[in-house]
Amino acid sequence: METRLHDCPGRGLALLDGSRLIVESCARAGADTYIGYPITPASLIYSYASRRFPNVLPAPDEITALQWMAGLSASGKLPVTATSFPGLALMVESINMAYMMELPMLIVLVQRLGPSTGTATAGAQDDLRFVHGMLSGGYPVPTFCIADVDDCWILPPVALRTAVEVRTPVVLLTSKEMVMTERSFDLSTLGDVEPITRRLYVDDAPYQAYAADSHGVPSFLPIGDGRHQVRITASTHDQHGILRHSTPEALDNTRRLPAKVTVNTPVLYYLEEREGAETLIVTYGITAGAAREAVKALYARGEAVSLLVARTLVPIPRAYYEIIDHYPRVVFAEENLQGQFSSMLFGDRRPDKVRFVGDVGHMVRPEEIVREVCA
């Protein structure tokens, strides 16, 4: 049955939060099953999903949530969940499994103030390094980050399409302040969401779950198919899905995983370059708003500064290095203490030209960015 609603996305002015747009956008893109486990500040997404997704199941814990999602994904569903760091930490082994099995799914990660249980009702950008390194082997899980309320509508389909077309779990990073803050919004600005169509293996030759195409991605068949045997495994395996210790074919299969993600993950960012600018502000997520305000304030003072807002975070797009290379001075702004994005790009020793502004417990303020740019 067709589950897409063929109405136009919306008309009129409304007061809404980002969660509503994320869930509606996921459902329109074709995500059909939501697995929920409540955690602040992601529970609003669960609540909306319970009213919108064709199927919603309450899991008893986050490990079960991810395992159910993997099973549902293997059977041809397109599952979504939303969580925060404590839940993600429990999911990590299962995300490794789904990555190895090459099962599409979407995990919306709503960041809150850590470490540990931290402050569940305070926003943060605390989890990028964790997401970047959560796979054994350091392999990249495609990770997109919502930069503004428009992205709550635009990025879920991008993330879901990547999950399906690259056959991989995908993370959509956001924070409490994006999914829970309400704002006036003109619904007529929403574009159509194209439903994702899934291409299944149709040949008569025996299906091999891990025989990759020219893009490095194997074709998909749901487990339980009536014509072909489907073998899936989380252990090191050959193209047939048979466990192998370390045969050349099996190791090539393992090598293929990061390569297919790196090649096929869309690179999305906003770049506003000003002529004569000597400084580039680099940011992502909830701090993008403050950075845009800072750029506006600086421009009003006659100071030219450029802005890069990263929306694809993992794998790290090469383009970011190229953009950064053009500037003698770069200011990273993000809501954490460690400067996670800059250390992801440069390690723990930042180049001299790179400055950092960030803190915990409050959103980075435009004036803090302005101060650092002018310092």
Binding site: L5, L15, R51, L57, W68, G224, T233, L243, E293
Partner: protein, 427 residues
Amino acid sequence: MSEFLTGPDFPYCKGCGHHLIARNTVRALEALGRDPLDVILVTDIGCHGIVDRNFATHTIHGLHGRSVALGSGIAMGVPKDKQVVVFVGDGGATIGLQHLLEAARLNVDLTVVVHNNFVYGMTGGQPSGLTPCGFRTVITREGSPYPHHDLCRLAHDAGAPYARRLLGLGDFSKDLQEAFQIEGFALVEVLELCTSYGLKMNPELRLRELAEAVDYEPELWTGDQRPALRLEQEPPRSSLLSEGKFSTTEVRFASSLEICLSLVLGGSAGEGAQRAAELLAQAAIASGLHVTKKGSYPVTVGVGFSTAELIISRQPILFHGITHPDAVVITSEDGLAHNQARIRAMDGGTVWLDQRLEPPETKADVRVRDFRGRAGSRNAALYSLLTFVHETGVIPTRALLSAIRTSSIAEYVPDALLEPFEEGHDR
């Protein structure tokens, strides 16, 4: 050779009970006339889990202890005529006990076959939660001092329609057939001895004697037959952008606001501060303005502070944080405590304060009003914002009154509270 198998030999030690489980599983599936492609074999980590390659069914091999949850997801997603069989060891069953109990509780349509040889065989014979008291292992050389879980009884208590414990000797394919035919959750716990570690550490033991000695007797537990959990294809559901709970706002009022105003409302949880702020936000939209509304509160529900931050602006709002508010409205002690530092730091602007509260030191203009006395705790926040709007004129008071009267809380707000704010009313 059976059409369910890809080869004649299983990858197990000589004499291992896993052989019998695999062969009896094949016999049972054959006897039921299943097609290999109608069967999905889910395996856990452990010696039993390397049997995938021998089966011509669909196979999926996951993590240690998670196979029941993985199999549950598959059973919920595949068509009803598919047979989902989960192979798990005693170690995996106890790591993933929650998954097993949840599958029983929800009556997921799958059969879990527990290969219970009382030890973690693949890692060297360590004890598991199913190791019986007195059973010697490489870790408990004098015999395990702890009792074992009764897995079947646990599953039964969790709601499993079918749970059977049997000795893994001879032909038990009929028992497996019975389990495979259950529509819903079925557990079959097969007792066996690990030849490499179980027998080596307990050479005198016989399976039947052990079972009798430690209350591991074969038994069948049956429960109520309930519909199996299955994802049904639901009809399309309403868009979240047009559902009944969600409304759009028409611009029907005009505001004299020139640039931007930031407002902090501080109250107590459970007293409607967030809802009141939402109504003001909707009134601002109805007045042709942009608005953001951020909530701050502790993790507790109904206890502690509840602060709402609003930015009302003529221009689109890029940053919705408030460092130096233009206005602060405080209705309770909790709200004052949470915003005390911010009020003290104010260099200007205005603070509206309930008259029961101690005015903080500030350079802001402090206006003391009777919010709680006039409106009670339930409506103090709403009343305070009506007061704020009425005194500042940032948006027409009519806009907020209209937002309140058309909201879901209208019936809880007495007319007497709103009337003084009507145009022409003499307060």
